[in-house]
């Protein structure tokens, strides 16, 4: 569905990604983890078209999308949800949802079904459908941001740090929602710091370090690898 091959990218003169490759299949959830500044968000923003890669290619549905604008990529069915629960603050929850589908060929009936679906999962959004998005809590805004992507029915969802700035307790319901979403055949890439919680829903995980992929594997393999490395900072400090 989505293939990233040998991508190098960065901001202006500052290289961030070095030779990153991975792919996602329909219905699969991939977790991308790594320390701050490892290039996770840059990777998602590069795939979504905000940054043009210096080298390498990004293929979506067999098509190279590296040169397309973010708008066009989104319309073709690859949807990025930015970090920091960004929604349109000065409009209602319902209008935010309408805009989510505005640029896509979604029939009125489909839209209504998606919205009903969302409202049954996140009932708080149904309650607050007429409130300004700015009046929602951070967690509710994150739900809304995901809901806005959901109504667009993308084939690939990129989700950047859904837990950023939220209480940790809010993460499980959001991940459960993503899990159910993936079961409908959507490929999902999640960037997340709370790796232990996020690993439970992931089919595969990638650990990034300094702009490159360091480890790739199943959640179990990764848990093994992490346990072995637990004491590393101390040893390297002494060495």
């Amino acid at each position: 569905m989505l293939e990233v091959e040998g991508v190098h990218a960065g901001y202006g003169n500052m290289p961030v990604l070095r030779d990153v490759s991975f792919s996602v299949a329909p219905g699969e959830i991939i977790l991308i983890a790594g320390e701050n500044g490892a290039g996770k968000s840059t990777l998602l923003r590069t795939i979504a078209g905000f940054i043009t890669p210096d080298r390498g290619c990004v293929r979506f549905d067999g098509r190279d999308i590296a040169a397309m604008t973010p708008e066009a990529i989104s319309r073709s069915g690859l949807r990025l949800v930015l970090d920091g629960h960004r929604v349109f603050p000065e409009m209602s929850v319902y209008d935010n949802l309408r805009l989510g589908a505005a640029a896509h060929r979604i029939s009125a009936a489909e839209f209504r079904r998606s919205v009903d679906n969302i409202f049954s999962v996140f009932s708080i959004l149904a309650e607050k459908r007429a409130s300004y998005a700015r009046d929602l809590s951070g967690g509710q805004q994150q739900m809304l941001a995901l809901a806005q992507a959901f109504v667009a029915q993308p084939k690939v969802l990129l989700c950047d740090e859904p837990s950023l700035g939220l209480a940790q307790a809010l993460l499980p319901p959001i991940l459960a929602f993503l899990k159910k979403w993936a079961e409908t055949g959507t490929a999902i890439v999640i960037v997340e710091q709370h790796i232990d919680i996020a690993l439970s829903v992931a089919d595969r995980a990638i650990i990034m370090e300094r702009g490159a992929t360091r480890l790739t594997g199943s959640p179990d393999e990764l848990k093994q690898a992490l346990k072995m490395k637990d004491a590393e900072p101390v040893t390297s400090g002494n060495g």
């Binding site: 905000f50 989104s74 930015l82 349109f88 805009l99 640029a103 667009a152």
Partner: protein, 291 residues
């Protein structure tokens, strides 16, 4: 008391023209960050359209020609929008709009000067003047005030109720989020130019009898519109309404108590004062944009 009434009535109605300019500024500014320096010339072009289109003083033709003028200026501004947005695709020169809109302003002014010379075109008022608080008030002032309210309400409805309007609002609220949602950014920005043209074209048409329709007067209107917009808060239409009114009344007070030739100086002092004390304007949100 009489004098106060005159100042208020005239001030508020002159201010309505400034508000209209400011509102037409806002549509473009909030969608693309461009401040169209040629907006004053567009107002004058609206007035010129009235001069060219109105050959009789019949009320019927006035109503028929109003949308024609608005659409004509809307079309002109769409073209201008296309030219302005063209180089902005290359990010390094994102301030190219400053120069291109100034250049368009110079071109329009110079063309008018060529075609009609320095003499102002006259547009007779179709409607008779009337009395407010015992002050004889030319009808175009009242019409401009009415038009300002109509556009304010129409914009509010459009930007908050219609899907397209919401999409334009979305650009000003979070451009990156708008792009991830797949909204066609360039087309919406172009549409904002068109809408801005409709506002300013209709304003020029309606206020034509009280406008100075020359190639040179555009800059003074754009200056006043900009001041109204900054005083009210860049991007806020409510602010535009208040900013225009405040500036209009101040302008009239200056005319009565100091002298008409100091109008623009006082307006400039108001601008500097507001920028020094409250740069975001009365209704502006301070740095609402996210990083």
């Amino acid at each position: 008391m009489d004098e106060l009434a005159i100042i208020l009535v005239r001030g508020l109605s002159t201010g309505a023209i400034f508000s209209l300019i400011a509102m037409s500024f806002n549509v473009v500014y909030s969608s693309s960050g461009v401040l169209n320096f040629a907006q004053g010339n567009m107002l004058v072009l609206g007035g010129l359209a009235a001069h060219l289109l109105l050959d009789s003083t019949s009320v019927g033709s006035w109503f028929a020609m109003l949308p024609v003028a608005a659409i004509a200026i809307g079309a002109v501004m769409t073209v201008q929008g296309y030219v302005t947005l063209l180089p902005m695709r290359f990010q390094q020169h994102s301030e190219s709009w400053l120069i291109s809109t100034m250049a368009v302003s110079v071109i329009i002014g110079a063309t008018m000067l060529l075609l009609q010379g320095p003499i102002a075109r006259e547009v007779p008022s179709v409607f008779p003047s009337f009395r407010v608080f015992g002050t004889r008030t030319p009808a175009p002032y009242a019409l401009a005030a009415g038009l300002a309210v109509v556009w304010y309400v129409a914009l509010r409805w459009f930007l908050r109720r219609t899907l397209t309007g919401l999409a334009i609002s979305a650009l000003s609220q979070d451009i990156d989020a708008a792009r991830t949602a797949g909204l066609p950014v360039r087309r919406l920005q172009l549409l904002a130019f068109t809408i801005s043209g409709l506002i300013i074209g209709s304003a020029g048409f309606v206020a034509a009898p009280v406008l100075t329709i020359t190639g040179e007067s555009g800059v003074k209107y754009v200056l006043n519109g900009f001041i109204a917009s900054v005083v009210g808060g860049m991007g806020s239409n409510t602010g535009a309404l208040f900013g225009g009114a405040l500036l209009g009344v101040l302008t009239m007070m200056t005319t009565y108590h100091v002298g008409g030739e100091f109008q623009n100086l006082l307006a400039l002092l108001l601008l500097v004062g507001v920028l020094m004390i409250r740069p975001e304007g009365i209704f502006g949100r301070s740095s609402a944009r996210r990083v």
